[in-house]
Symmetry: D2
Subunit: 478 residues, 4 copies
């Protein structure tokens, strides 16, 4: 970068590649380390300053009435296109697509390497899109790369990888507990060569953006199949297909996340050709499960990045010389230092857990990393909430207002405990799997006790309970 | 091992070396992996069954009056010597002494490799001593290896490494806040070629054991030194030096931890030659700090092992077919599954943090790993307490009684939040160090805001606050 | 009420007066019980249904461009005036002004009695204003009633009590740590018979509303006074005084709380006559402290009401027959039931604490209830956050969106941990006061130990430590 | 008391009767207030100093072998009889037996009044027995008073009320999940006029004491009864009945609680006459449930007292002038002050909840107070654990050792989360009952929404969602 105005001027600055946790370092190639440092500088020097510009462009988009809600979703801030150009110049593009997994050419990094980069992307609201690594496109591109036909790839994967269009994944429905995906009710039935879809979806993230051209939709194609896991299919629905209505956007704690947004969408006799089917009718669960692994790593590492950003703001506040409640700077208040320490401990442990999960995928696949992925799915959002809450509290009123990024990060972070299944679902699953070892452990403990009894005899011990009193009918024998 | 009665009979059993976390695997040599599996089997098949024998031998030691308190500390259970012989046959001895750090020959493992083994040692009350890796001897041996003269090494390090004697480190005092070591008051003054010590120490762990022959003692040799950190020295005091009285042992939640124990010791004109000084007068803090790093890793990994053992017992209980409150097995109670999951998440993250700290030491030294060590010092005991509490609760009355190892593990684990400095001291230190970045971060955030203002102009935006209303004297201008 | 469409149709409904906690019942007059039931029905049947109307009227106020931010603060929803009329018909007006404390005629209830009512007001966003018991007017009216001159009362208290105008209290400033009010910097200096104010204030809640006619402002009138607590004065500034600019409104997690809002206000040579002074120059702290007690009870009881409303929504969700994740209704998921129970425990305890604090004020004054007030100031918002978080989680995506009141309640509730001083300030103060007993307790414990020593002798006991071993120079004496 | 050596010498001392929470005061008679102050002084001045004497008498009881475990349970410390005499002189005896509930004459106090006293009893290990208000005798006396025949009362209730004998309640069994009492397996079958009991019981608290003469035993008399709640009976078994063996005592975290203790008891063809039946065969659940209410209040208030005692020790430590880590007294460390404050908030709220539950019983009966009792059953032990943990941590090593009462209080307090049913059982029950309101609340919320829709029309509003965008097939309509 030509004008290293920001980071280089900070004399104590240590580049990201030199702050990789010790155990992970040797798993990161030199090329990835270079890219990592570039990502950090791009985010800190270009994306973060552009975040507020992005927000303001949405507000002012086009005309005097810009703050009306439709305008907010019709707009496309020019700053994001400028950042995309800049990212491509820097060679930062599609880093998410893991090497050795797809024929398609991503940037050739491992999940662990991209994970390290995703942490920095998570510090800015524009960065992920700027380098074409934004959800839900990343997961959707993986679906196309993994399961798409040549035609599907040409029509949708190509422009997605080029950053020309965006996409959405439509699964959750308002009227049922979608946390259990077998509850999903949207119907699709076949008429001739076409599938006809009816129903509604919500939390269709990204569907607010006018550039969102393609929906990947899960719906019930075979409701009477004896296996609950074969009733669903996943099919492609172009956003402008007749019968599709984006009814409204969903707010997140008062934020509309425009223009991306979270759509509530109606399907009224929406017809798409059979060739739009992904993988085959009845294989919806297969597609959904294949999609989830790396995406959860991305979410988790971006959340780690959010937590680190919250720490930055927190520490900056503590060291603001203008803040001296009760005669000393906030950085001298032990309650704050304890919270800083706790935050540091939580973040550092959680980061290691995510990187370990990423590496487990790299060494096998998402399936072999089920446990590790579930662990970070529940751990990381909790850590992020904790750190944000502490930072907000240190900022007082500023912490809940528009004057810091903390409040919006909190709102967004809060959804992480719900998105892709609420905590509870993952906890129960994780607990149930862990619990399966219990039977064998019970046997092992019994075997150890048996061995103890043998040893007791061997050593001539009475093997009695240390608190034995053996009082028979009121009289003690011992 | 000739009769693999236990683990091998468990068909689903996966050896320790195959359960090393993904990111850490490549840092572990094949030799270490073999040793690790051997440690696991030795602990599970031989040490754990021997634990109750050890306890019972203490109770019955020698005569009918064995349960009196002195007898408990005079005894030396024969089972521990048998385990030591067995360990030496297996080649499991002194694994703690890290390679490349000392001339003395340990087992040649890295801190990370030994850390993995220490986890298994932490599952048994006899295992650490059985393989000559028990605290505080390990730290004391490091002190000798690092700072000892040839004579000191010959006299004390040799028999310690051979498992012939034991040792104690005497630092904490009852009458002051020893969490701040500059408060330590025991005096030593020079008379001729001798140092004379007066004062008292407590929590002198290991001093109960009759085989404990040598005390490494911190005392104030130069109370008027202008630097608080140069007033203290560390000196060797043989346990049988006249003037030394082990006044009493300290209980831990009702346990006396005999014969090891935690001593409260009086020093009354105790004289030792100047040649007993470690490193030199006034260098006590240097010695103490040099001693602490790896020992905290050992403690932490043993605590991880305790937490895993608690999980084993927890899971065994959940799957005990005889337990069916309210019509279903405990393993079907979602509240328990959620707690199991939370425990799994906490343990796995914490383990990675400890291994990362160990590797940071391996790559540099304890000083370069200050932050990582402090993090696990506060994180791990908290995790252990959580897991134990959940397991205890699932066991009901059995959980707090002598019928499970949980209650004693809780008592012992609770001290980990105090030993080597209470949580609070480490938290404040960690927080303070972290907070130092605040000034630079404040500047960075300001620079980013400045850049935003430039961009706003460049993009022709009004850069106003989204909630600006500019109402002047009751009338809105906008 | 003529059409008891709501509560009466619910056969299991038990009126509020019959759900007063047992220990409190006898402290509530029959008149207050009647009013309480009336409040409950007014809130449930009229205010809650009107809440969304209020919100929508703000959005549509006046013209097509209504969603612009200025419009939102210029509007005055007609529904609120209709509710006010209705409340007055029902005799529900100014219930907050405690009997026996002021000459002015409130509704004649005690703080405890009004506290019970405030719980129900806290369930609706329109209810408090509808019955003229909305903050910050309540506290401001108390200031006028307590400290105002006849002229001040006539000009401001009268229309406030009639619900004709609204008011704001301006204290907090953005550039300093206002949690320590001695840091407040706004200057006021005297020129002739006038005071001239310069500086800025923020979090001036209520200042967004065009009907907000009067500001009560704290500023530094005597910056060199040797007592930090005598440097500040409190003075009246009509909102339309030249030099006053409401620069912008502050958001709370994405909500603007229009038309009430939280103002950021500039004062540029704002001139008011000396007769606007409250109580006298230099007595600002006195005014501020006199104002705070009952207001904190109101906040706390409204928060209890919010928590109960969150419970209502939570329980409704759990029993929604359409929600059956994993084959059973949410109400059958034990994790949810445990959280419900915890919420119930937390709310019920906290309510008792607030009512006890209210009664302590009633029996003495706010000063005599300092401890009790501080306790609920920190306890209640924490409870509210917990309950809301659990309810949000049970609702999944709906919980963070506009489809439930939970998200906005969370945002609003979160400020309660900051408003009127952040938790930390109250905790430290509470802790410090509590700690003052420590010296006497140390003496008492020493005296008890001394008495024990006497008794030991008297009973012929050796009074030794249970773990004494007295091992002298390696040999045990016992 | 003749020599008010302790409390009266503390000038700042405020008697217990003047520290009754504000809302509760008027529910306490003058006579109860006097008794309360007497209890406080008796506990502080006589019982607490005697606690260590009691402990030491057990250790030294009778002969040189006193520390053997049987001796510990055979002994009866004379100090307790002296305290009992003293208590009777003071008129402090059987205060637990609530007025108006039984023909038997207790001290004539309400549950609330005795609850206040129980708080002070909870500060000492000897006090409850000294005033004949110790568990489990209190609950057992209630059983006799409520359900006993004249003969049963004469034989057992009389000497219990006179403090001549002690008793135990035998319910829990080691081999099943007794948290669900329907699982209890001990059998009793009738032979002629006798019942024959076979099986085992544990956690039979009090059964260690040689003075424990009577067991109240629950066993299965009708295992095939179609109602699970009619299979059990409660019957009297004198401790010296042939076939009864007190096999061993159960430890609590390393403490044996001698001589009281917690027994593990075998029943081998134990024969008792039919006249020993309580209430009638098959009515065991009725007896058990009738027994539990007030006992839970007693436990809870004693736990509040323990928490207050922990606070006393905590505050004493903070103000120990000898403790100055890092240059200032502990009382100046903000982390400690925050914890003190949190403890104060938790204790004060919990106390109010217990007193409210007690008063709910007083106004009705234990059945009408089910919710309130369950709430404090789960809340109070949690508070006690929190406060003890904080105090222990402030004491460092002393906190877990025999040098403070904290460690033993922790051990004992921990059982409170298990005794009389583990937390989880009460939580689920509480949650389930609360959840029953959900259906009606769902309807109410729907009715409110319907009313909103009417109002929207009435006010001419479009009632649309604030984030509606209505984009049809890619084009926005709005």
């Amino acid at each position: 970068m030509s004008v290293p105005y920001l980071i280089n001027s900070d004399k104590g600055y240590v580049p990201a590649s030199q702050r990789i946790p010790s155990v992970v370092k040797h798993l990161v190639s030199d090329r990835a380390k270079k890219a990592l440092d570039l990502v950090e500088r791009f985010v800190e020097e270009e994306c973060i300053p552009a975040d507020a510009v992005f927000t303001q462009q949405i507000r002012e988009a086009g005309d005097a009435h810009s703050s009306n809600i439709v305008g907010r979703f019709e707009s496309h801030p020019s700053v994001i296109e400028d950042l995309k150009k800049r990212a491509q110049e820097l060679g930062l593009w599609n880093m998410f697509l893991p090497k050795n997994h797809f024929k398609e050419e991503g940037a050739g990094f491992s999940n662990l390497e991209y994970g390290l980069m995703a942490e920095y992307l998570g510090r800015s609201i524009t960065a992920s899109e700027a380098v074409n690594c934004a959800a839900p496109d990343t997961g959707n591109m993986e679906v196309f790369a993994k399961y798409g036909t040549q035609e599907q790839k040409a029509q949708w994967l190509k422009p997605l990888m080029d950053g020309k269009i965006r996409s959405a994944f439509l699964m959750t429905e308002p009227q049922v507990s979608s946390s259990d995906a077998t509850n999903i009710e949207m119907r699709m039935h076949k008429e001739g060569n076409e599938w006809v879809l009816n129903g509604q979806k919500w939390w269709s993230s990204g569907a607010g953006d006018k550039r969102c051209k393609i929906y990947i939709v899960m719906a019930k194609s075979d409701p009477n199949n004896s296996s609950k896991y074969k009733q669903q299919s996943v099919i492609l629905v172009p956003a402008d297909t007749p019968g599709v209505t984006v009814h409204r956007m969903l707010g997140v704690m008062g934020y509309d996340d425009a223009p991306h947004g979270h759509g509530h969408i109606y399907f009224n006799n929406v017809r798409v050709p059979d060739s739009n089917m992904i993988l085959g009718a009845g294989r919806g669960f297969e597609v959904v499960q294949g999609r989830l692994g790396p995406g959860r790593i991305h979410h988790a590492m971006r959340s780690i990045g959010s937590a680190e950003k919250a720490m930055d703001w927190y520490l900056a506040r503590l060291n603001d010389p203008a803040r001296t409640p009760f005669g000393k700077q906030l950085a001298e208040h032990a309650i704050q230092l304890e919270r800083v320490a706790r935050s540091r401990v939580e973040i550092d442990s959680a980061r290691l857990a995510v990187l370990n999960a990423a590496n487990t995928i790299d060494e096998g696949d998402a399936k072999s990393a089920l446990k590790e992925i579930a662990e970070v799915k529940v751990e990381v959002p909790g850590v992020l909430m904790n750190v944000l809450d502490r930072a907000m509290q240190a900022y007082g009123g500023a912490g809940v207002s528009q004057d810091t990024p903390l409040a919006q990060m909190w709102a967004s972070g809060r959804t992480m405990r719900i998105v892709d299944g609420p905590d509870e679902v993952h906890m129960i699953q994780l607990g149930r799997n862990e619990s399966k070892r219990g039977g064998a452990l019970l046997k092992r403990i019994e075997a150890q006790k048996e061995k103890t009894r043998e040893l007791m005899k061997q050593y001539g011990l009475k093997n009695e309970d240390p608190l034995a009193i053996n009082r028979v009918s009121g009289k003690s024998k011992l």
